[in-house]
């Protein structure tokens, strides 16, 4: 399973390295969202600094939907999905691989967003360790849910609109957890982040397990 996961993950990342779709489209999109949040909340730097955590994580959620769509767009052309199915790879491995590749890309995006937001919104990145750990755990949860629902919505002609509808309500706990943990980190009270990190971890484990188990039937039949 883990070997297959690594193969699929390497494949997805290689596709991204060669096509640079995430780099050239998703990252600029996320940056535009950050700028627009700034415009929406006015030039009040104090307000922006206090809301940095929530704004960054909303930008991450929007980008995650794009990331999932990209992850499955790779599979839908040239019937690569049939290829994947016929390859004999363990479905659980395929799930973990796709989620892993998505997580790596999201994580990189979060680093960029954090740096840009700290400049745009005037919020110094104190307690970087808490912020980083939050990113890791939250990203795993987001990638697991995204990959799971991406597969669920795969057969739909209305996939582009269905996916956000499914994805957003389910990841509400991740948004709350990541936002609160970041807020605690940015405010210099990292102790307050502990409970939220536990919640994020539980979420990541739960959806990672659900996806690993349920991906087989979804991929076989989809």
């Amino acid at each position: 399973m883990w070997h297959d996961a690594l193969l699929v993950m390497a494949k997805d990342l290689r596709v991204e390295l060669r096509s640079r779709v995430s780099l050239n489209q998703v990252v600029p999109f996320a940056l535009a969202v950050l700028v627009l949040f700034g415009l929406a909340l006015g030039p009040n730097l104090h307000l922006l600094a206090s809301e940095t955590a929530g704004l960054v994580w909303m930008a991450v959620l929007f980008s995650c939907v794009l990331g999932v769509q990209r992850s499955y767009a790779i599979e839908s052309t040239d019937s690569s999905r049939d290829g994947l199915r016929l390859s004999g790879l363990d479905p659980a491995g395929v799930f973990l691989g796709k989620a892993g590749a998505l997580a790596v890309q999201l994580f990189a995006l979060e680093i960029v967003l954090a740096l840009v937001a700290s400049i745009l919104y005037g919020a110094p990145l104190t307690n970087a360790l808490v912020l980083l750990v939050t990113c890791v755990v939250a990203t795993i949860g987001l990638a697991a849910v995204g990959t799971f629902y991406g597969a669920l919505a795969l057969g739909a002609r209305v996939r582009e609109t269905l996916l956000p509808l499914l994805f957003f309500p389910v990841v509400a706990p991740v948004l709350m957890g990541a936002m609160k943990a970041w807020q605690a980190g940015l405010a210099g009270t990292p102790g307050k982040a502990d409970g939220w990190l536990e919640l994020l971890l539980a979420f990541a484990v739960a959806y990672g397990a659900i996806g690993t188990v349920a991906f087989g039937p979804l991929l076989e039949d989809g």
Binding site: V158, L199, A214
Partner: protein, 257 residues
């Protein structure tokens, strides 16, 4: 799921329908009478509340609606589990889950609306970020998503399996959402359900009976609605396969000409 029209399916339905049909009609009539009685008792017979005045009358509809919504999601969850369990796998569970979730979404919407109307005069706001309210709102969107998944095309078996998995995941998400909203808003001072219950004196007499009646009649209405939607889903499936057979016959006839 009836994929081919078997001889049994083609026999006129009158031969086996009456018992269920009559029972269902009784349930429907009882639900209607119960709701009319609830309205009459709630609006004219019961007294206004000491603190909430006439607004207390929402007590006879709002909690029963919320109860029905959660009952519906519970039923959808159990039906989905029954579908995924290999020994009980049958298309009827998928249909039942769909029918129940649909009714659940309608009643969640009604719960949100009546709750909001009630919150305005008693809490002084249409909405508060209370865990219960926020979870209900997210639940509403979550199950709208589930209903959207049900329309994603695929073969009957694939769709049923996909629906069942989606229903399980949605149901598992509910306590997680509740818990995290509970943590999330714990720093804010917002009016909560608890404030209301502690301030309110215990209800008794005609109010308690009216509320009980409300619960019973809304539950009967739930059973009736789910049964109707379930029957309709079965008819739709049969019509689909029947239409396919007709199309096949037509094509064969075209070929023979």
């Amino acid at each position: 799921m009836i994929t081919t029209v078997s001889p049994e399916a083609r026999t006129p339905p009158e031969t086996r329908r009456p018992v269920g049909e009559r029972a269902l009609r009784v349930v429907g009539v009882l639900a209607l009478v119960g709701i009319v009685l609830t309205i009459w008792l709630g609006l004219w017979v019961t007294p206004p509340d000491q603190f909430m005045g006439n607004w207390v009358r929402l007590l006879y509809v709002h909690p029963p609606m919320a109860w029905v919504a959660f009952l519906a999601y519970g039923l959808a969850f159990i039906a989905s589990l029954a579908y995924l369990w290999p020994r009980t796998r049958s298309a009827i569970w998928d249909r039942l889950a769909g029918a129940s979730a649909e009714v659940g979404v309608v009643f969640t919407g009604l719960t949100l609306v009546t709750g909001s109307i009630w919150g305005r005069p008693t809490w002084g706001t249409w909405w508060t970020w209370d865990p219960l309210l926020t979870t209900t709102a997210l639940l509403f969107v979550l199950y709208l998503g589930y209903l959207a998944i049900r329309h994603v095309p695929g073969s009957d078996e694939v769709r049923a399996k996909r629906n069942a998995i989606a229903a399980l995941v949605a149901f598992v998400d509910v306590p997680v959402v509740y818990f995290s909203v509970y943590l999330w808003q714990s720093l804010h001072q917002t009016p909560s359900i608890l404030n209301l219950t502690t301030r309110k004196t215990t209800i008794h007499g005609s109010m308690a009976w009216t509320m009980l009646l409300g619960f019973c009649s809304f539950t009967l209405a739930f059973i009736w609605l789910v049964a109707q939607r379930y029957r309709l889903a079965g008819l739709e499936a049969r019509e689909e396969s029947h239409g396919l057979e007709i199309a096949l016959v037509e094509r064969r006839l075209e070929g023979g000409r």
